[in-house]
């Protein structure tokens, strides 16, 4: 029987090669660009610190660790920075001379992000993990710190609420403008 490989520098390098892009994407979806590198560094430093405890496969553990650092990042920043970051995390504004289909997609994305922002943090995170990180149920459960059954239920409920949030409000004729930017004259 082959002994497990030593958890030395080569192990960390291999771990980084295998998963740094996924962790970068995870962080890039949740914190401002300027903070992404910090999250990445914290996650792989934690992996080194706790190398004897990092499971194999490691990716769910890395996501879970990243989630701690994402929360820390947001709460360490001033509230205004968080608000700015949240807004900057939205897709770019539509530019008038783009092709129609690109405009339509950006409108759609804006609507989707606005609906996501209306959910609770718990609902939004389970949906992000399922849609963007595309985690299967058991890994989803690990990252969320619950049982697979509970993860399934949470995803099901979040999905239902998200579908509801995607519906245009009755008093809002233009769903893409659910949260309109307002022009102000100082």
């Amino acid at each position: 029987m082959t002994p497990p490989p030593a958890r030395d520098r080569q192990w960390l390098e291999a771990l980084f090669d295998a998963h740094s892009t996924a962790v970068l994407a995870y962080a890039g979806r949740r914190v401002p660009a300027a903070e992404v590198d910090d999250v990445l560094a914290e996650v792989f430093t934690a992996a080194w610190q706790h190398r004897e405890r990092v499971p194999d496969p490691a990716l769910p553990w890395l996501y879970r660790t990243a989630s701690h650092h994402v929360l820390h990042t947001w709460r360490s920043r001033s509230r205004s920075d968080r608000l700015l970051a949240r807004v900057h995390a939205q897709p770019a504004e539509v530019v008038a001379d783009h092709a129609d289909e690109v405009v339509a997609q950006l409108d759609q994305n804006t609507r989707v992000h606005a609906a996501l922002a209306r959910l609770t943090a718990r609902d939004a995170e389970v949906l992000r993990l399922a849609a963007w990180e595309q985690l299967p149920t058991d890994e989803l459960a690990y990252v969320l710190g619950c049982t697979p059954t509970a993860a399934k239920v949470r995803l099901h409920r979040a999905r239902r609420r998200f579908a509801g949030a995607l519906q245009p409000p009755a008093d809002h004729p233009h769903p893409g403008d659910a949260l309109p930017a307002r022009e102000v004259t100082p």
Partner: protein, 330 residues
């Protein structure tokens, strides 16, 4: 046919295919990770502290570059001005130890008593009595509260049981963060927000404070920034103003649940003159009417203010509905 919500979300992925990390930077990152730490030393906290200090220094540089000339004591935040709270509710002892003292449940300090706020969060999450809790300063910009029998990093300092946040500074923060009637209730210009802040400072009897505008590039679309205000976290008596590249947080459509709660609170508390118990009842009803459970989806904090005539309500943007009520008992 209704499109699959998850498929729509996948299409809206803000980072669908990030570029691989630069190899040179990767080597440097791994060098630092390997050289910096041995397992279980809890030095992650030290790294975070250094990063906080760097960020604070950068903020100071930005303010000074903006022509303010104010001096800031940025390297350490006094505990009574640290109005963020990291609470162990929802985190197991094992997770806490594995994360080197990092907590995943954060909230604003509502009552001024961090232990009481964290205890309320335990009750909200667990439907049971909280364990004995202790509050600590950690060198970061918030207070951490964990069960009293958990071992904590040696750099943490326990706060006395009698510790309370500076109540006036706390209310100022609540006013600035408020989406009912405060700066974030709708899109205000920087001048309008400055006027609101001046009024708040006067109301609260705060003197010797300055309002500092952070220098900011012009918006790409040529429009004026919607401004927001926040207390400088270093503990100085400074309110900073900054533009927000988007709608104000209080501009939720009234057709969606959180927007309904805001509308009800504006009409029935901010627009009326209620004693504290009646205002609390209104808040609970508003939360319920919007389809939320007041016990689990909301954190409603009542603070008696015997000299007030009417109850004031504050709502920040948070992961759950946080409503703080300050008013007379009758």
């Amino acid at each position: 046919m209704t499109p699959d919500p998850l498929a729509l979300l996948r299409q809206a992925d803000p980072a669908p295919s990030p570029a691989p990390y630069d190899p040179g930077c990767a080597t440097a990152l791994i060098d630092r990770a390997v050289a910096a730490d041995t397992p279980g030393t809890g030095r992650g906290q030290g790294r975070r502290t250094r990063r906080w200090r760097a960020a604070a220094a950068a903020l100071t540089a930005a303010v000074l570059a903006g022509g303010g000339g104010a001096a800031y004591a940025v390297l350490h935040q006094p505990a009574d001005s640290a109005l963020g709270l990291a609470c162990a509710a929802g985190t197991s002892r094992q997770e806490f130890e594995q994360a080197g003292g990092s907590l995943s449940s954060f909230m604003s300090v509502s009552s001024g008593d961090p232990v009481a706020d964290c205890a309320a969060e335990y009750e909200r999450l667990q439907d049971g009595p909280p364990p004995a809790l202790r509050a600590y300063t950690t060198g970061a910009s918030y207070i951490s509260v964990v069960p009293a029998d958990w071992p904590v990093p040696s750099s943490w300092q326990a706060l006395p049981d009698t510790f309370r946040n500076d109540p006036v500074r706390l209310e100022l923060r609540q006013r600035l963060d408020d989406v009912l009637e405060g700066p974030q209730s709708r899109c205000h210009s920087a001048d309008e927000v400055a006027a609101l802040v001046r009024s708040d400072l006067t109301d609260l009897g705060l003197t010797g404070w300055t309002i500092q505008r952070l220098e900011q590039a012009r918006r790409a679309d040529g429009r004026t920034w919607c401004a927001l205000a926040f207390v400088d976290d270093s503990g100085s008596r400074t309110v900073l103003l900054q533009g927000l590249d988007g709608p104000a947080s209080g501009e939720y459509p009234t057709g969606e649940p959180f927007g309904q709660v805001l509308q009800t609170l504006r009409q029935r508390i901010a627009g009326q003159c209620l004693p504290l118990p009646a205002a609390r009842q209104v808040a609970e009803q508003a939360v319920s009417a919007a389809g939320f459970d007041p016990a689990h989806d909301a954190k409603i904090t009542s603070i008696e203010d015997p000299v007030a005539t009417c109850t004031r309500a504050y709502v920040p943007v948070a992961g759950l509905i946080e409503i703080t009520l300050r008013g007379p008992d009758r």
